[in-house]
């Protein structure tokens, strides 16, 4: 049962990930990414990490996806992205992907006892305790990171001065003559 479910989730995950890279329409791409992220959450549930799954949904599917959607809507043309030569760079990309896969596979193989060890529920309480005690510094530094991100984003995203409502422009000739220059 578990195997079947995992296989199903993995298949959906792979398919949606493929669609993410193959889709022409940017909005579709982002929405397929949403499916990928949500399926990842399902995989987390299967791996006995429900808290992580909820976080995945709230943070990635809910937050990051919105961000990407709005980012996409900032671009000029939404409905299709013209890639001049779709084949360009595919070879290089394949090498990079293969390398990455190798690294991950090596890590998996190297990790002792992974294939056989049953998944263990990590209590949320313990998670919280660990970052409040053991990893305190990282936790507090994170807040500074968030602050930096926020300030940086605002500085980058806003123009120097937000354009206010259209200011009255000098009116056409006939309009501002006000009788003085009238023949």
């Amino acid at each position: 049962m578990e195997q079947l479910a995992f296989g199903l989730v993995a298949a959906v995950l792979l398919y949606s990930a493929l669609r993410v890279v193959s889709e022409d329409n940017l909005v579709h791409t982002v929405l397929w990414l949403g499916v990928t992220l949500a399926t990842t959450a399902a995989a987390y549930v299967l791996l006995h990490a429900p808290f992580l799954a909820a976080i995945q949904i709230i943070l990635y599917t809910g937050g990051a996806l919105t961000l990407m959607l709005f980012g996409v809507m900032l671009t000029q043309r939404v409905e299709s992205v013209e890639v001049p030569n779709a084949a360009a760079g595919q070879g290089r990309a394949a090498i990079v992907v293969a390398l990455l896969f190798g690294v991950i596979a090596a890590a998996v193989v190297k990790t002792p006892g992974l294939p056989s060890s049953p998944p263990v529920d990590v209590p949320v309480r313990a998670l919280g305790r660990s970052f409040l005690t053991t990893h305190l510094l990282a936790f507090e530094v994170l807040s500074v990171l968030l602050l930096t991100a926020m300030v940086g984003a605002i500085v980058l995203a806003r123009k120097a001065d937000p354009a206010p409502a259209p200011t009255p422009k000098p009116a056409p000739k006939a309009h501002d003559a006000h009788g003085e220059a009238h023949p």
Binding site: A174, D176, H178, G179, H182
Partner: protein, 165 residues
Amino acid sequence: MTTAERESAFVELLRARFGLAEDAEPPPEGFLLAAEHHFELARTLKQQHGYVQYVSVVASHWPEVPAKGKVEGDPEHYEVATLLRTVGPGSHVARWRVRIEMDGALDSLVPLFAGADWQEREQFDLVGVRFADHPDLRRLMMPEEWVGHPLRKDYAIETGHLPWR
């Protein structure tokens, strides 16, 4: 100032500066002025005499009256009446008419009164009289592609079913 005092002041102004004959009595049709005084009169009234409120503009079409016996003929023309108002107690409406030839154009009051924009557009649309220097002289009421000016006297409508005809 009461309405009557404003009325006489208005007549005085017309006599003094805008070519109204000294002995001319206020006719029942309102004062008929020369077209070149039109804009200047409106400006003077607005800036010096407190006629700050734009009321309306009324254009009418007068078809040709052929000469017949003693009756003098009259070529086809437009007449445009303009109305301005003072605000507050004793409000008075200044009203004058201007005669425009068929191919002529009247100075637009849009530089003085923003409200003249739509009113002049409407009169252009329905009657056909043109306003010089109007910033946006399009049809207001009828569709853009409409042909003709419905309120002209030569624009017939079917009223055959009306019983008194």
